[in-house]
């Protein structure tokens, strides 16, 4: 026989189960919505990065929720943690993710190979689902190209960036130097502006193994080198162009860079600049707020932005789509997810995210709009325009990008440390070729 109190507990448990079952029943899509809100009551799960774009979008979400009745649960993670979270959830096959931020150059091929993406062409090219006011042709063709793997459109581009030169106007002027237009001038200026006894450094850039690879790419391209031959799939890490470029980059950081550069990615390097300790810095133009925003930088009013300087083979900076918004192949609420992606990449919202988040988007109209371009200084815009013809990739276009970056990054760190560059390059060449062969 049951003890009275046990019976009471059992009854309570039963009641609470019923109560939970009732409250968790979401209304079917369209049940409560009239024509304007077909997905009202739907909740979608969106995974984003800790990125200014996501921060800016988050503030705008209430508008979307009011307009469509769709509730958006946005989770944000660090870049690497995001990739991990996505990959583990997708591998487990039980994820209820609807939409997510992706780094097309870093993971689109990997995720497409494993069938994680919904092909967005289904929606993008369907005028019934997308509507003419969305204006597909306003989005950069090159950016859409980066998002395309095979025939599949893996995501809609949201952030584009190019490598530029940040410099201290006051220091260059005081030394009687003009803004470097070539890498040789950059080196000469860095030498002049370095005074290690005063902790004043001529140049800083990323020195961390893997993060350095993308910002080294413009140096490599400007020296006429590349990661590998796209047609023959032959690695080109041991070519004279690569060795020259990596020697140049390494000596620039070793001779004129701050100590500890080997542990620097962009937050650390940009901090050195914003504390007024480095005169010049090459990195993505999308992070300019770290140095040009008076709230974050002690030298905000003294910073200038210029196009990436030319090397022996011209100024070949990268100009890439760094982030896109994608939909999971098994998303539980695909149509509602598309509503969200469509809204987040619409003209109106791109203008707003550019204006509040200061993140360059992929729509031409947003840069023509006075509000859309209000956050970008004139020299920033000029440098962005000069980078228009840049290369569409800042890392090797392979599936196992991270493995490739680590192999190549080892040569860069060896060079910064003044080690045996030729030996490291030879070793990396073999390893990188093995990697390329494994993907044939």
């Amino acid at each position: 026989m049951l003890h009275p109190s046990r019976a009471a507990i059992a009854a309570l448990t039963a009641l609470s189960v019923i109560a939970t079952a009732c409250s968790s029943g979401t209304p079917a899509p369209g049940a409560s919505g009239s024509g304007g809100k077909p997905y009202a009551g739907t909740t979608i799960r969106v995974l984003g990065a800790n990125h200014p774009w996501a921060d800016a979008l988050k503030l705008l979400l209430p508008d979307f929720e009011a307009k469509t009745g769709i509730k958006v649960n946005l989770e944000q993670y660090g870049e690497d943690q995001l990739t991990q979270k996505l990959t583990t959830e997708f591998t487990a096959g039980s994820s209820d993710i609807d939409a997510f931020m992706q780094r097309p150059l870093q993971e689109a091929k990997l995720h497409q190979q494993n069938g994680y993406y919904q092909d967005l062409n289904t929606y993008f090219k369907d005028s019934a689902k997308t509507g003419s006011d969305y204006d597909v042709n306003d989005i950069s063709k090159a950016a859409l190209g980066t998002e395309t793997v095979g025939d599949v459109l893996t995501g809609i581009p949201i952030v584009v960036e190019a490598e530029v030169l940040y410099y201290r106007k006051d220091l260059l002027q005081a030394a009687g130097l003009s803004v470097p237009k070539t890498l040789d001038e950059l080196k000469a200026a860095a030498a002049r502006l370095t005074d290690k006894s005063k902790e004043q450094y001529g140049f800083v850039a990323r020195g961390q193994r893997s993060p350095a690879v993308t910002q080294f790419s413009s140096f490599l391209y400007s020296y006429g080198g590349d990661w590998f031959d796209l047609k023959t799939k032959r690695a080109s890490i041991d070519t004279p162009e690569f060795i020259q470029a990596v020697t140049f980059y390494g000596s620039l950081l070793r001779d004129y860079g701050p100590p500890g550069v080997l542990n620097m990615s962009f937050p650390q390097a940009a901090a050195i600049v914003s504390q007024g300790k480095a005169a010049m810095y090459t990195d993505a133009n999308s992070i300019y707020q770290l140095m040009l925003d008076p709230k974050q930088s002690q030298v905000a009013d003294k910073m200038g932005v210029a196009p990436f300087p030319a090397g022996p083979k011209g100024a070949n900076m990268y100009n890439v789509t760094s982030w896109g918004l994608a939909m999971y192949a098994k998303a539980p609420h695909k149509d509602a997810a598309w509503e969200f992606i469509k809204w987040a990449t619409s003209k109106e919202i791109v203008i707003k995210t550019q204006a509040t988040g200061a993140v360059p988007g992929a729509r031409k109209s947003a840069f023509d709009d006075p509000q859309g371009k209000s956050k970008f200084p004139a020299d920033w815009s000029a440098a962005a325009a000069a980078s228009g013809g840049g290369r569409g990739y800042d890392r090797p276009l392979i599936v196992q990008v991270q493995k490739g970056r680590d192999i190549i990054g080892d040569v860069i760190t060896t060079s910064i440390q003044g080690g045996d560059i030729a030996g490291a390059a030879k070793k990396a060449q073999v390893e990188f070729q093995t990697l390329l062969d494994s993907e044939k």
Binding site: N114, P258, L262
Partner: protein
């Protein structure tokens, strides 16, 4: 009543059953699954499915320079950290093991590093180690001492990381040693006092020998933990500069969650598990050995 009879008859199976199920689901199964995965070529990068490939991953490990480097660094880090922690920990415990004003206060302060969150600790040390702006080099500079690169230098990174581990975990050795000291018998000390032993002699000939079992336990616990250190290394350097601080745990993490080579990462973990297990077994064996030689003076004292 038949139900009760069933329970009575099978009590010795039924009662441990939940515990057994728990151990199996949370310990045995994951280990066996990792061993199985290590025998597959599962790799999202190459698109290979989790199908059986035999010992291929282990053969690859033998020729992998990064793996060999990681083993060496794991032991290097552990050797520095654990040896300093044990010596320092026992010394501090001996100092604290006497009555003085504010002893409780000092003991509680000492335990703080152990209670802090590892990632927070890593962040604070990251700032302190910063070669240009960090406080460590600021102090050294004002004392006219050389300023090392700490975690930004390929040669100094492992000792610098070990220093953080020492700061964080020496208190644990202190704590264990203090517990050991509290449980020591008092008669050997009385005998030594009668024989006229100096306090240094008492520590060397009585306290330390009697403490050996405690010290072995503390060393073992720290050894296992130090070998597995991940949080502070990953947060502070991510294995850098270059690969200079990539230990086995960081290496396998890279393989699994950066390269998504699950099969290969599992084989690293299996080897790692075997290393930790064999070290633990050796230590457990050492612990069982009676400290006969060391017990000598104590026996003499009793006579």
């Amino acid at each position: 009543m038949t139900g009760g009879g069933f329970v009575d008859r099978h009590a010795r199976w039924l009662f441990p059953a939940p515990a057994l199920m728990f151990v199996f689901a949370l310990m045995v199964f994951p280990i066996l699954y990792t061993v199985w995965t290590s025998l597959t070529g599962w790799d999202l990068g190459t698109g290979r499915p989790p199908t059986f490939i035999g010992p291929g991953n282990y053969e690859k490990l033998l020729g992998d320079e990064r793996f060999r480097g990681a083993i060496g660094r794991t032991f290097y880090f552990t050797a520095i950290a654990v040896s300093v922690e044990v010596v320092l920990g026992v010394a501090i415990a001996l100092i604290l093991n006497r009555e003085f004003r504010g002893r409780r206060f000092v003991t509680s302060i000492l335990l703080l590093p152990m209670m802090a969150t590892p990632v927070a600790i890593a962040m604070v040390w990251l700032l302190m180690y910063e070669p240009t702006a960090g406080i460590v080099n600021f102090v050294l500079r004002s004392l006219q001492l050389p300023t090392p690169l700490w975690i930004a230098g390929a040669d100094s990174v492992i000792p610098a990381l070990a220093l953080v581990d020492i700061w964080e975990w020496t208190p644990m050795v202190v704590l264990i040693t203090l517990a050991g000291l509290a449980s020591l018998p008092s008669d050997p000390y009385e005998a030594a006092a009668i024989d006229g032993a100096s306090s240094l002699q008492t520590i060397r000939l009585i306290t330390l020998p009697l403490l050996v079992p405690t010290i072995v336990v503390a060393t073992l616990l720290r050894l296992i933990d130090a070998l597995k250190t991940f949080d502070i290394i990953y947060t502070m350097t991510g294995g850098g500069p270059g690969f200079s601080s990539e230990t086995l745990n960081v290496f396998s993490y890279q393989q699994a969650f950066q390269y998504f080579s699950f099969g290969y990462a599992s084989s690293v973990l299996v080897v790692f598990f075997a290393i930790v297990l064999s070290i633990s077994l050796v230590f457990t064996y050492v612990r069982r050995e009676p400290p006969s030689r060391l017990a000598g003076p104590v026996a003499d004292g009793r006579r």
